[in-house]
Symmetry: C2
Subunit: 291 residues, 2 copies
Amino acid sequence: MRTYLDCIPCFYRQALETARLAGANEIIQKKIIDELSKLIPDFPLEASPPEMGKTVYALVRGIIGVKDPFKEIKENSNKLALRLYPELKQEINNSEDRLLTAVKLSIAGNVIDYGVKNSLNVEEEINKIFNKDFKIDNENNKNVFRYQEFKEILSKVKHIIYLADNAGEVVFDRLLIEELTEKLGKKVIYVVRDKPIINDALIEDALFCGINRTAEVVSSGSDAPGTLLKYCSPEFIRIYQKAELIISKGQGNYEALSEEDKLIFFLFKAKCPVIAEDVGCNVRDMVLVDR
Amino acid sequence: MRTYLDCIPCFYRQALETARLAGANEIIQKKIIDELSKLIPDFPLEASPPEMGKTVYALVRGIIGVKDPFKEIKENSNKLALRLYPELKQEINNSEDRLLTAVKLSIAGNVIDYGVKNSLNVEEEINKIFNKDFKIDNENNKNVFRYQEFKEILSKVKHIIYLADNAGEVVFDRLLIEELTEKLGKKVIYVVRDKPIINDALIEDALFCGINRTAEVVSSGSDAPGTLLKYCSPEFIRIYQKAELIISKGQGNYEALSEEDKLIFFLFKAKCPVIAEDVGCNVRDMVLVDR
């Protein structure tokens, strides 16, 4: 997906939030805003938002001198999500359609996102998918929640790569991956970012959340907040090319890959009007679409 | 009020919205964004937001070549509000405390604001103030709705200047001014912007909405989206200095005058978190405070 002009105010907001998280004072924050302003005229809209996101966060990190401003937030998200794991597993065990529940939970986990405004409440989100509202929403948005199609494709493939989004959310991914591997006999490779970027999951998050018990964990080789193939390692590209199916989590990965010619199912919660417009859904919709 | 760093993304959003309203294509919109980016590093945060607002809108107008992009919106707001006038007057006539109802209506009219995000619905806003919710809100926010204090001050003054905010809202101002002049015997001068800026009221809007039947109408001499004294005409400054009380409508006028040493009551709906923080209230609160 290309960058829209409406993404630009959002880059400023994200830069400010990151700087504040890292404890930067207002003088430093202003410096970040000023330096970002100098980059804007040269930024091509044809590039996708994670491309600019990568530049923005590198700029912020460079000025504040903190390598991983979201470290503590990521650790807390992982712990919170792990505490929920047994209860969520039980929900899956009790459900009529285990895979559907696991898919919904995986998307619910995508609310753990500090790149997008609004303090979204994870537990509230989880409760929502277990009550009627989700079903109603779902009925109204069949075209962006293509579960039957997803299930059908799944039945035909063996090797899947699963692109991670955020820390914490990893636990929700694990629940879905366990269905894919333990119940459906698939082979899954779980792909995380190579270096810190926003609260995106790294190898350490995947291990902490126990993904390695059910899937192979690799890094994409890139630190963009979305899987931009041109920044990925040759090792990852080989895995990507061989994959029969890609499950892609989060807006950033959608932005990076929505125009790629590959069998990809995108799972995320639409958090901004620009994405919603591009997908053809409403903000806050749960999205499961292929491209 | 000074400009906060959070105002900067908002300037971009406003520039984009104005350009789109005027029918600018994406290339022109990008040019506006780029030119705005060049101004940001030189913009001092000590200046108030309407100062930057003035610059932003001048830049947009210059690039799109449209003098008054909000002309049609303003005309429609005026017509909509005038259609409501008889019914609103009746509400005042039927109310126990005419002045209180007129004050509430005047603040409700402040939702007609295209400088701030969110398509706020005027009729919904009006309905709200006539139901219980407003009273409850009001109880919780006594410190930002200082009606008794306002009433007391009013009883001691004769000459009032009333600083207008938006077109359409003018009709709601008229209802309050009619209470001040016809019922309380005050002399009111109604002050509008000198030249088009966002959807702010001009002389033509004041006349169209019939303010001249109940108050003298003058221009501030400035086209900033807030009454920044340094841009106002000497004629206005004389009027300002002589006024016993100033009633100031809207966020822009608050931003411009909140630190002035003068008896000013600010009436507005808090529409953004930066203002809310500065005032000490919540977003969406109805505000009636003095400084």
